[in-house]
Symmetry: C2
Subunit: 389 residues, 2 copies
């Protein structure tokens, strides 16, 4: 019998043109530390000034922290905490993509509980202290990707020890998330493809892992992977199509976040993340795409009925002469239409000599125990070799 | 273009046999005031002792407030607040149906903010004070009905002035809701029918009102009305069918609560409520059933495509020779299979002489402005006459 387990407390205001509601929304404090990336992109796009103006209209003072880098670091978080304490900030505002939002989350944690961020990391060299709360977090996501806008995930790297650890606790759900797909109209095509496939897989993989246990997760993830699948070709054909951007953002930012907030991805994502750890300049979505076809060829044959049903949900009928292949055939179609199947590891500087290391990191560090299809190191190396071009 | 607006922060643990997780769930306090109805039903069914035992295992002290009556009163709420203050309770536990849960919610409000409940009522003789918070609320719903287990609704009556006012504010979302369909196996057949149709209409009406604006509400309400429609005949055929109870509870307690938490019902519900106000002994679900056929005959013809689509979602194809009738034909089927179409107002003591009063209350008191199909007093009287048998 199915069950439901859910806890998704973030208030969401989602829709084209709705950023302006930041001027009137109920906010959880009077002075915000606004976290943005060091590349000045939010400033260049005019979004930063717009947000500061809307916050001012709402009677909120702001302090900018504009030294967030990709893979945000413990060192940067602690620097931002110092600024927040000195300036008397009482809530934390992540503006941009995952790096800015995760920085705001980590700063909110240390601001509330004191001490040093790594005291609260629960693995590696972390101090394993309980996270009993965090100061309020507000997010305005401008990428169509991670779901951190609406979930409890937060990943920070400690430069000193090269550890990338997660601080995924209920206290890190944002209080409020405003998601405006108009802010995503200028995302470049490559990023749109990587983030779009990432969103498709977040939803599809959580659906696989869930295996119909949590009925509400099925509801979110099915709408998520179907919507991403339907709109990926359209958003890649015309990035200025607001309807396509709105649908992709709904699938990525809301349903992808909800799916990840309630369950886990599969080994597909873990291998791709390990590849990203070894080759940090390669976009996460690209690493997912590289191995997708070969990964699902291997996965789907173990659960043929389940994956024929998934294929049918994507409009690709099951074929009794090739049981279990409908999902792979659906995936082949969308990868061909979007050009994703043209991406080659060799073009991204990925060296097959590192495949063993990727397999080692995947198996040794992650200790996957939730996936229905767990692979050995040998199988991962074989998969990577089969995917290499 | 669609939008999403959501705020549904209650943690839900749902599933057959999951009441026992109350012994280990994280609870928001150390001493609970447990609200139950005065008829002793929870005691008779053994649920009350089981809950007290599980709370004790979780290290929580309990005080019972067992004077909750149907249509819970301000007077009862204030009596319970006094007990809670005297006993030092720090959270409020609603066990049973809507009356017990709404009592727990109202007590939690006054316990946190002090003063008198009616100070916080926002209409009628209420003091219109802002509700800035409430003490934590935990619920274990044992009926398959209202959705108050997971939403922010709370309705209390002031005996003195005969006002039934709502205290629907975000502070009244429960912290935790445990919903165990096994507790619903002994619900009598008539109550199962009334609550089942109530759940079907909660979801269907919110879907109509929403009109595709809030995409997440469409997701909840469509799964809600389809699931209730599918399982109503089965749960009425065999009330001990746990799969049927689980599906009905999911549609009623979770999706119905979510739909109502995010949007409003239609004039159908408002007229039925007014009828319940004039004839307080008639079950709410019965008043909905009495007028359903005639109400939707009138509603659906204004939006033929919309209601043909709804009918198709319920497995009844549109018929081009009778546009807009698919939903009504689907409704006719489920009312015939379940015997709901055999209910007669005359058998319940409803007197047509009161139809004008029902119409007056509906229009004058409720001031409906959200429904796409608003009726005049004359139209309501005509509808009631057409429904009378």
């Amino acid at each position: 019998m199915f069950t439901v387990d859910t806890y998704l407390p973030t208030r969401i205001i989602f829709g084209a043109g709705r950023l302006k509601e930041l001027a009137t929304a109920k906010l959880p404090g009077k002075k915000a530390l606004v976290c943005v990336t060091a590349d000045g992109l939010m400033k260049t796009l005019g979004i930063q000034d717009q947000v500061l103006d809307l916050l001012a209209q709402n009677g909120v003072e702001t302090v900018i922290y504009d030294k967030v880098y990709p893979n945000p670091s413990r060192e940067s978080v602690m620097e931002a905490v110092e600024i927040a304490n000195r300036e008397g900030c009482d809530f934390f505002f992540g503006l941009g993509g995952g790096s800015s939002i995760d920085t705001a989350k980590a700063v909110a944690l240390v601001h509330k509980l004191g001490g040093e961020l790594w005291d609260y990391a629960s693995t590696g060299t972390g101090g394993r202290k309980e996270v009993t709360g965090a100061s309020p977090i507000v997010t305005v996501g401008t990428t169509c990707g991670t779901g951190t806008e609406v979930d409890q995930y937060c990943v920070i790297t400690k430069l000193e020890t090269a550890e990338k650890l997660d601080f995924t606790v209920d206290a890190l759900f944002p209080t409020l998330s405003i998601i405006d797909p108009e802010l995503m109209l200028s995302l470049p095509k490559s990023q749109t493809m990587y983030q779009g496939f990432d969103a498709f897989f977040h939803n599809a993989e959580c659906y696989m892992t869930n295996n119909h246990r949590n009925r509400l997760l099925d509801l979110y993830s099915v709408d998520g992977f179907k919507t991403a699948y339907q709109w990926l070709p359209k958003v890649l054909e015309d990035g200025s199509d607001l309807e396509a951007r709105t649908n992709m953002s709904y699938a990525a930012n809301i349903l992808g976040g909800y799916s990840m907030g309630l369950d886990f991805v599969t080994t597909h994502h873990i291998i791709a993340q390990s590849m990203g750890g070894v080759f940090p300049k390669v976009a996460h979505g690209a690493t997912l795409i590289f191995i997708a076809k070969e990964f699902y060829k291997r996965y789907t044959k173990h659960f043929p009925e389940f994956f024929d049903e998934m294929g049918e949900m994507l409009g690709t009928p099951a074929d009794p002469s090739q049981p279990g292949t409908a999902f792979c055939r659906a995936l082949d179609k969308v990868m061909a239409i979007t050009g994703a199947d043209q991406l080659k590891m060799s073009d991204f500087g990925i060296d097959p000599a590192q495949f063993q290391k990727i397999a080692d990191v995947t198996v040794d560090v992650t200790e996957i125990d939730w996936d229905r299809y767990v692979m050995s190191k040998e199988e991962i190396v074989e998969l990577l070799e089969a995917s290499y071009r």
